[in-house]
Point group: C2
Chain length 160, copies 2
């Protein structure tokens, strides 16, 4: 996994390869029961409240810590999500008005899919807060779980 968070830029780019077709990655991002199995750091459990996967549709999920405290994230899908691209606005429930834009693309070559997540923030300070909140640890853990999930789904598909 590669994380590019250039100093002074209101942007974070994450890339990672998966040994699975992009249709499976798209499913892992857009089916609530699959998403709940990989998204977020190991210390939190995810409840997917809503994934209205269409242009203008709302999404909302909540990360719960061991004490039951919930951290809500929510936003909108811009454009029709597809195995090529998902564009979403994001807002942390405790910081209304601080919105960021996520563009996730899936490129497949010879059975390997390169995931690229491009996040742009309203300010460099927002980006820095995001990086300081130890997002990288959470994203590394998420990506490892996502890898397990799509690898297993790909194996199941081959043996089906």
């Amino acid at each position: 996994m590669k994380v590019i968070a250039e100093l002074g830029l209101p942007q974070v780019i994450i890339t990672r390869e998966f040994a699975a077709p992009r249709e499976l990655l798209f499913r892992a991002y857009t089916e609530p029961e699959l998403l709940a199995r990989w998204l977020g750091p190991d210390s939190l459990t995810l409840t997917v409240n809503q994934l209205d996967v269409r242009h203008g549709g709302r999404w909302r999920w909540t990360h719960y810590d061991a004490d039951g405290k919930g951290y809500v994230f929510h936003g909108l899908y811009h454009g029709t999500p597809s195995p090529e691209r998902i564009v979403q606005t994001y807002e942390f429930g405790e910081r209304p008005g601080h919105v960021y834009l996520n563009t996730i693309t899936f490129e497949e070559h010879d059975g390997t899919t390169t995931l690229r997540q491009n996040t742009v923030f309203q300010t460099v300070e927002e980006r820095d807060d995001y990086v300081r909140a130890d997002m990288e640890t959470g994203i590394r853990a998420s990506m490892a779980k996502l890898d397990d999930l799509v690898t297993r789904l790909a194996k199941e598909a081959r043996h089906a």
Copy 2:
């Protein structure tokens, strides 16, 4: 009017002061018949197709040139638009998937409102394309027309 488009940053920030309360600026941004009177360069006429001013609502407008060719822009409102803040995704109809995020804030002090428009793009290249498309000329013309409009509305309100 101040335009900040720092080299290498996927961002453009525009600030301008208006001698009008922010409620009037908010109306000029959210009422179709007012918006059509100021938005866009002088060479184009604007048709507002849709302004569903609420969280998740869609907006769409078309700039027509003298030959009748239309340039469609559309997107979504993220968060409930208010005289404090409007957050919108933007997409040019001819470039699907290339989405940018606009945050417009209105700050009022002693009857003067400072408008700040913060646009973040998915890449620096997108930002550069936007700047090269002579957006500054269009925005300067728009802002001058917006100034005329809200100044007139403010006068009417004082004499009402």
